[in-house]
């Protein structure tokens, strides 16, 4: 143990004296600080504007005046997906998913107002976020530090001397890993401390998520460190080790995610927004099976309603026909929208398989998924929110249709309700799922990362075991 610590201290001291490492370290920390500060500012502004907007929406709902309840259902609500303060570290899918989800009758919307639609041409190069520094730049630094761990000793002729001095190859490997790893952790730790101090004050229930995030990134970097150790032990020269590791880094960081996305789109294409809307409109016109034409459907509804109540005119109905029609119409809409949205989510699921397959070739995809999941900005969280919003939408629409049916007579359009009714519809309350739920959604990503860690450790053990002096 003493030898390991001695080697580690030596490595660390050499790095401290290394001007380039100091420059790289300062630069990385500065980049993180800029990215985090920007992310934090965005989070705070979003939170403030969301709170203001939610209050405005509720006020608009309550002050909409006296009108038919169906008109109120058309006003509906806007709901805004909650963000954890952790979104300052990793905004995840936020730039490409809208900020607002409109809820109204006859219509199930998707999120609107995507930040990416109001961006800059440079956004296509990728967004510089705090976790992007950890995902891309720190592994590169690990590679720069560790690629020559054994090869440089071999090239300088000092490897034989070290091993001859009584240090075993395992002790040498462990010492080198510890020394260089400490240097990398020293870059990560200030960043984690800065973010935890800032986020802690704002955090509610996200402490566990932050802890998992704080644990997972060092393990992600450990994968690269072990791989670098393995390649360095195996390669004939520093140059070859560096080339191999850089090729892996480029493939992992830039090629695989895009390759996965393009393969996913090729094999399970997402329809365009126009195609999706056109398909829904077609189903609304002729029914899901093509045999339920809208005009005929509503004519039939009149006939069955009149027959049910034993009257011959809509004006003679003991209930509001508007409510009956709206209830039937909304149920029809909901079946159709449910069908099309399930198909859309199934497409996303099929695409996810390609991303999962690609993550077996490089750990970044899994790390990214896990990171987004822990900050609450992945697709699972958005779907969870959208499902909760849809349940709320159906509930308030059903309430308005009930009132339109039960409290009216005849055609039912004369009914008017006021503030008392609007107040009886409670505001939308959403509870963000906890860290355990987030981890359950990311079991695959966790498994892939664990697999990579095991593989990297195995490669390192094997390579160090076969370490040659020449």
């Amino acid at each position: 143990m003493r030898k390991i610590l001695l080697i580690a201290r030596n490595e660390f001291r050499m790095l401290q004296r290394e001007g380039r490492f100091r420059v790289a370290a300062v630069f990385t920390l500065l980049l993180f600080a800029v990215a985090f500060a920007t992310g934090w500012q965005d989070y705070r502004q979003s939170a403030r504007l969301r709170a203001q907007a939610a209050e405005t929406v509720r006020t608009q709902w309550l002050n909409q005046g006296v009108k038919h309840p169906h008109q109120g259902a058309h006003l509906g609500f806007f709901v805004f997906k909650e963000e954890l303060p952790l979104a300052a570290l990793d905004p995840g899918l936020k730039p490409y998913v809208g900020a607002i989800l409109p809820l109204e009758t006859h219509n199930r919307s998707n999120f609107i107002e995507r930040p990416a639609d109001d961006s800059s041409p440079a956004a296509r190069f990728g967004l510089l976020t705090a976790t992007a520094v950890w995902q891309f730049l720190l592994p590169l630094l690990v590679i720069f530090l560790l690629h020559g761990v054994f090869t440089s000793e071999r090239e300088n002729g000092t490897l034989a001397q070290l091993l001859a001095s009584g240090v075993s190859r395992w002790q040498l490997a462990a010492g080198k890993l510890l020394g260089n790893g400490t240097a990398i952790l020293l870059l990560l730790i200030p960043a984690l401390v800065l973010s935890s101090v800032t986020l802690w004050r704002a955090a509610e229930g996200s402490a566990m998520r932050f802890l998992w995030l704080a644990l997972s990134y060092p393990l992600y970097l450990l994968i690269f460190a072990l791989l670098a150790l393995a390649v360095s032990a195996w390669a004939r020269s520093s140059q070859l080790a560096l080339v191999i590791l850089l090729a892996f880094w480029v493939g992992n960081s830039f090629l695989l995610p895009r390759l996965a996305a393009s393969l996913a789109e090729r094999h399970a294409p997402t329809p365009s927004a126009e195609e999706f809307r056109a398909a829904i409109q077609h189903s609304l016109n002729v029914g899901l099976d093509g045999k339920d034409e809208a005009g005929a459907h509503f004519k039939n509804l009149i006939a069955t309603t009149l027959a049910h109540y034993g009257v011959s005119r809509i004006e003679d109905l003991p209930v509001g026909y508007a409510g009956v029609m709206l209830k039937d119409s909304d149920q029809r809409f909901e079946r159709i929208y449910e069908h099309h949205y399930r198909q859309l989510y199934a497409t996303y699921q099929r695409q996810r398989r390609w991303h999962f397959a690609a993550s077996l070739l490089g750990p970044l995809i899994a790390m990214r998924e896990l990171s987004r999941g822990l900050t609450g900005m992945d697709i699972a969280h958005y779907e969870h929110f959208a499902d909760a919003a849809e349940r709320y939408r159906r509930a308030f629409v059903e309430r308005t249709n009930e009132v339109a049916e039960k409290q009216a007579r005849g055609s039912g359009w004369e009914l008017e309700v006021g503030r008392e009714f609007w107040e009886s519809i409670p505001p939308f309350r959403y509870e963000m799922p906890d860290a355990q739920w987030a981890l359950r959604q990311n079991v695959l990503s966790l498994s892939v990362l664990a697999l990579w860690l095991a593989l990297a450790a195995f490669c390192a053990l094997l390579a160090v075991r076969k370490l040659s002096l020449n």
Partner: protein, 479 residues
């Protein structure tokens, strides 16, 4: 004689270098995949435009069929979807598309990737079609197209082929020998760069030309050929720039490993960090107008709607008194339809859309100005990042740049103005459409586009950067 010998010897060395061929092979695979995706993306854009036009044709055929039925049964009153209603034709089943044609070189860059077919309706464009449903996971990952390969992968492949251009000779102990034979370092570096750069650049040029040809059916105009040549020059300059950097680093450092470290660091800086910081700067200097404001303003029109409707009607009729309908028409339109809708007064849906667009106009103009300002920031910063410069130029040559889409936006606004100018008076007068009206419904045939000057400045930046780097590199080598 010496130079010819250099060329031949270099080719012999390259032939025997397995690692070099492996790199070129990997690059070609990625280039092929990127080109394939570009062709597919462009064809998909073309198919979507055709599908939109087909959809418009089918809807109008349905309208004509319904009209024929109504003419045969004049007494029939459809509960929903009356094709004699200007609101229904102008807002639901009759809207037409404004199309932005796909240019010949569109496959070179997906660019802004905005829809090139926009439905013109009587409704507010702000309210309709704001949703996008593409998988955000794919959007965040980014596209794997030809431009991605050229901007990101080509420099890496060049680094892989040139990082040890001179350092390999130094490490093998043959550099001094070469110099003693009277070989000029510059000539030596030039031959190596020419071979290695050429082995990557020529396939890239061919891929660009083939990709464009496949996506537009091998139909090129002289303008298209000219743009393609410009693109090739730009990519050539980009390649020369990276070759120059490789020579400069080789002249500066002794060891090949150090060269790789420096070159990859430069790649990270120029291709990732600078564009990323540019984006942050552009968004900080010209932050987007917050989206909630517009959405809430749109929603506000529905609060105390009846009161606001009266005010909106007065606002319209003050400007168009000739469109005010008779009171008996208003009363008839607001009578609930038994078994149908609460009211057939389509002014109730039309006027809020018109009014909303009027209210949102300053915000939308501000949004457009901010977008332009952000684009200018990016253009300035492209002086520092050749990757950004090449992207901006490629977008412009492909016709997928922000300026072209901004022009299209204006065309669409004008088209909607025309559409509303036709249907608005009919709706506000509570008229039905007559047979003569259908013949006069506007169509949006292709509007001529304004010629936008090409990104000559961007090309000049690339060429200048390549020149400066290469001069600096050769000066360093001479020393």
């Amino acid at each position: 004689m010496m130079h010819r010998c250099l060329w031949q010897k270099e080719w012999m060395l390259i032939r025997r270098n397995g690692a070099l061929w492996l790199t070129i092979f990997c690059y070609l695979i990625l280039l092929g995949w990127g080109s394939y995706n570009s062709v597919l993306h462009t064809r998909l854009t073309q198919q979507r435009i055709q599908a939109a036009q087909q959809d418009e044709t089918e809807r109008w055929q349905r309208i004509e069929t319904s009209l024929a039925k109504l003419r045969a049964n004049p007494g029939e009153k459809p509960l929903f979807g009356d094709v004699r209603s200007p609101s229904y034709v102008g807002g639901f089943d009759g809207p037409r598309y404004a199309i932005l044609p796909v240019r010949e070189l569109a496959a070179l860059s997906a660019g802004e990737a905005l829809p090139q077919q926009v439905l013109i309706t009587t409704f507010s464009r702000y309210e309709s079609g704001r949703e996008e449903i593409d998988n955000p996971v794919n959007a965040v990952a980014g596209g794997f197209d030809l431009l991605f390969v050229v901007i990101f992968v080509l420099p890496l492949a060049l680094i892989a082929l040139t990082y040890n251009l001179i350092s390999a000779e130094r490490e093998a102990g043959t550099w001094a020998l070469l110099l003693s034979l009277g070989i000029a370092p510059r000539a030596f570096a030039l031959v190596k760069c020419a071979w290695r750069g050429g082995l990557l650049l020529v396939p890239t040029w061919l891929a660009g030309a083939l990709t464009c040809a496949l996506s537009n059916g091998f139909a090129f105009t002289s303008g298209g050929c000219g743009r393609l040549i410009l693109w090739m020059i730009a990519v050539g300059a980009y390649t020369a720039l990276w070759l120059g950097l490789a020579v400069w680093i080789n002249a500066r450092c002794v060891h090949s490993s150090q060269n790789i470290l420096w070159l990859v660091t430069l790649w990270v800086l120029l291709t990732l960090l600078l564009p990323g910081l540019t984006h942050l700067l552009a968004m900080k200097l010209h932050p987007p107008a917050h989206h909630f404001e517009m959405a809430l303003q749109a929603r506000d029109l529905n609060v105390e709607r009846e009161k606001k409707l009266s005010a909106m009607y007065e606002w319209y009729y003050a400007q168009h008194p000739e469109d005010r309908p008779a009171p008996e028409l208003i009363a008839a339109a607001n009578k609930p339809v038994p078994g149908g809708s609460r009211s057939s007064d389509s002014r109730r849906t039309f006027i809020p859309s018109l009014y909303l667009d009027e209210q949102l106009r300053p915000l939308l103009e501000q949004r457009s100005l901010q977008r332009q300002a952000r684009k200018r920031v990016v253009q300035w910063c492209s002086l520092l990042s050749p990757a950004l410069a090449l992207q901006l130029l490629s977008d412009q040559l492909a016709g997928t740049d922000a300026d072209r889409f901004a022009q299209f936006e204006q065309t669409v606004n004008q088209a909607q103005h025309q559409w509303r100018a036709f249907f608005g008076p009919h709706i506000m007068r509570l008229n039905k459409l007559t047979a003569q009206d259908y013949a006069r419904i506007p169509r949006f045939d292709q509007q001529p586009e304004q010629r936008v000057p090409l990104g000559a400045s961007v090309l000049a930046v690339l060429l200048a950067a390549a020149f400066i780097i290469n001069v600096a590199a050769s000066q360093r080598l001479r020393g």
